[in-house]
């Protein structure tokens, strides 16, 4: 049963990640391939402040949001200067650079050895969380909050402007909207939520290393997004469900682990191709990628 809780916790983390990707990719049509970079920055920054200063959760969350937000400005700036495929490859570059730094800046990040013994998150400075039940509750609550907030954004005037930017940025500018500001806000929120997911992850598994935050991971997140669907709330959530639960299903069926890992990737890849052909808005999505 504890194992089920573990799956649910990871599910909540991925729901947050995929929703964060939806804000930029799904709603504003900004194809970022670096969600895992923000996931990783959040994890490492959060870990640093957790282990060095023993701060309560809200403070850690604020710091993570601040730092991932600052890094998101790099991506925002790139999106203004670079168009289309150039932007995509710039985000890949950002992802690779972050990974390389996490891997090689061993003085700070301990590189491939990772950081073990990450303490639990402290709620209100007093209760230190450990154990599956605590994280189950925390992750459910956070996921619920993020789903609520992001669903609000989809339906809000802010979301309307993002959709408009996706449709025709120039016209939106000519209507007096500062489109650069709106895109930057979208990047900021997207990075912040990915970073928060990172802190939860780090504290929950109490060990992190750079291999969790690679380009492959970014690809995994956007696969979940495109399979599930973009542009609304249902799509990303169900997409996260699909990619997190599928391996459990394979395990149930009794496939040897060595094959299972590759097989489920094959299934994701095929699903992606089929979805793009038959239902490009995603299985439960609303909008088609431009």
């Amino acid at each position: 049963m504890e194992y089920v809780y573990h799956v649910i916790i990871m599910l909540n983390i991925y729901i947050m990640l995929v929703l964060s990707a939806n804000l930029t990719i799904g709603m504003a049509n900004l194809l970022t391939m670096c969600q895992a970079a923000f996931y990783g920055i959040g994890a490492y920054i959060g870990t640093y402040f957790l282990m060095q200063f023993n701060l309560p959760f809200l403070a850690i969350a604020a710091l993570v949001i601040l730092f991932t937000g600052i890094f998101s400005f790099l991506v925002s700036y790139a999106s203004v200067r670079l168009k289309g495929d150039y932007f995509v490859i710039a985000t890949m570059g950002f992802q690779l650079i972050v990974y390389t730094i996490l891997y090689n800046w061993t003085d700070v990040t301990r590189g491939p050895y990772g950081i073990p013994g990450i303490p639990g998150i402290k709620l209100f400075g007093v209760f230190e969380l450990f154990g599956v039940y605590a994280y189950l509750t925390l992750s459910l609550v956070l996921m619920g909050i993020i789903v609520f907030l992001f669903h609000h954004l989809v339906e809000s005037p802010f979301g309307r402007v993002l959709n408009a930017i996706r449709a025709d940025e120039i016209t939106v500018k000519s209507m007096g909207r500062n489109t650069v500001l709106f895109k930057s806000l979208a990047f900021f929120l997207s990075a912040a939520v990915a970073g928060l997911a990172g802190v939860i992850y780090a504290s929950y598994v109490s060990y992190i290393d750079p291999t969790s935050f690679t380009l492959d991971e970014s690809i995994f997140i956007i696969s979940a997004l495109f399979i599930g669907g973009i542009g609304n709330t249902k799509g990303p959530v169900l997409g996260a469900l699909f990619v997190v639960l599928l391996p459990e299903l394979l395990r149930f069926v009794g496939l040897p682990d060595s094959i299972a890992a590759n097989l489920r990737q094959i299934i994701y890849g095929l699903a992606l191709i089929l979805v793009m052909y038959y239902r490009p808005q995603g299985l439960w999505g609303k909008v088609i990628l431009k």
Binding site: S156, F158, R160, N163, A167, K173, M175, G176, N178
Partner: protein
């Protein structure tokens, strides 16, 4: 209101244009293809920055302003081939054209929900009023407000894009070929809308057109642009009847 621009442009399209636009009048900009009319619009509205010279409106210099700031100064624009924003409903299109940006910052409509609701209601009412004004009571567009942009034909989208401009508090409108590609049935409506914009809303209109009949009917002043400079400007009939203009542009 007037503004002057004397410009050269990176790709050497405009080679020294001085244009004074008279407030409250409809000025047509005519000339052959590729002579730089749309480029001129881009310069005025801030989308093209590679020029020398000044763009002034009521004492304000637009040179260093970004496109969206210029728009907020009271410039509205209809783009060549511009359509409604796809993926959004007609109502959403109208709301976006409004200058009222209440609730557009993330979560602000969650925090100040009452203010948000009333501003949305106001915008909805304004949109309906505009549609009634242009298309009459009980027109079909009132029932189509929640339809996606793709539900409307090309011609309808052009008119609606024009109508959309009335949502904002503009002083000057830049209309780039409003009648091009549009069914003649709609052209009358477009003419009516533009005339009303001048007479009832006191807007200044700068119009790029290739449809000479339309220009004659609607424009007070006509400016003929050829080879990157303004060759002639004056009352419409005068310009369009000018021998040189008819020779080089209309080929008559």
């Amino acid at each position: 209101m007037s503004f002057t621009n004397a410009q050269n442009e990176t790709f050497q399209l405009l080679r020294g244009v001085n244009l004074d636009v008279e407030k409250g009048k409809i000025t047509a900009l005519v000339g052959g293809n590729g002579t730089g009319k749309t480029t001129l619009f881009n310069i005025i509205s801030g989308f093209e920055k590679g020029y020398t010279g000044d763009v002034l409106m009521e004492g304000n210099n637009f040179n260093r302003m970004s496109a969206h700031r210029i728009s907020l100064m009271g410039i509205g624009r209809l783009f060549q081939d511009g359509q409604l924003l796809s993926g959004l409903t007609l109502m959403e299109n109208m709301k976006l054209a409004s200058d009222d940006t209440t609730g557009e910052m993330p979560f602000s409509s969650l925090i100040w929900s009452k203010k948000h609701k009333s501003s949305e209601a106001a915008k909805e009412q304004q949109a309906k009023d505009i549609l009634v004004r242009i298309f009459g009571e009980g027109n079909k567009y009132l029932d189509m407000l929640n339809q996606d942009a793709s539900a409307f034909s090309y011609g309808e989208q052009r008119i609606l894009s024009l109508a959309r401009l009335l949502m904002g508090n503009d002083k000057l409108l830049l209309l780039d070929e409003p009648t091009s590609g549009v069914n003649p049935v709609y052209i009358e409506t477009i003419e009516k809308i533009i005339r009303e914009m001048k007479e009832q809303d006191g807007l200044t209109v700068l119009l790029i057109e290739h449809n000479m009949h339309f220009v004659r009917k609607v424009a007070d002043i006509c400016t003929y642009l050829d080879d990157g400079v303004i060759e002639k400007v004056g009352p419409t009939a005068e310009v369009l009847d000018d021998k040189n203009v008819r020779n080089s542009y209309l080929g008559l």
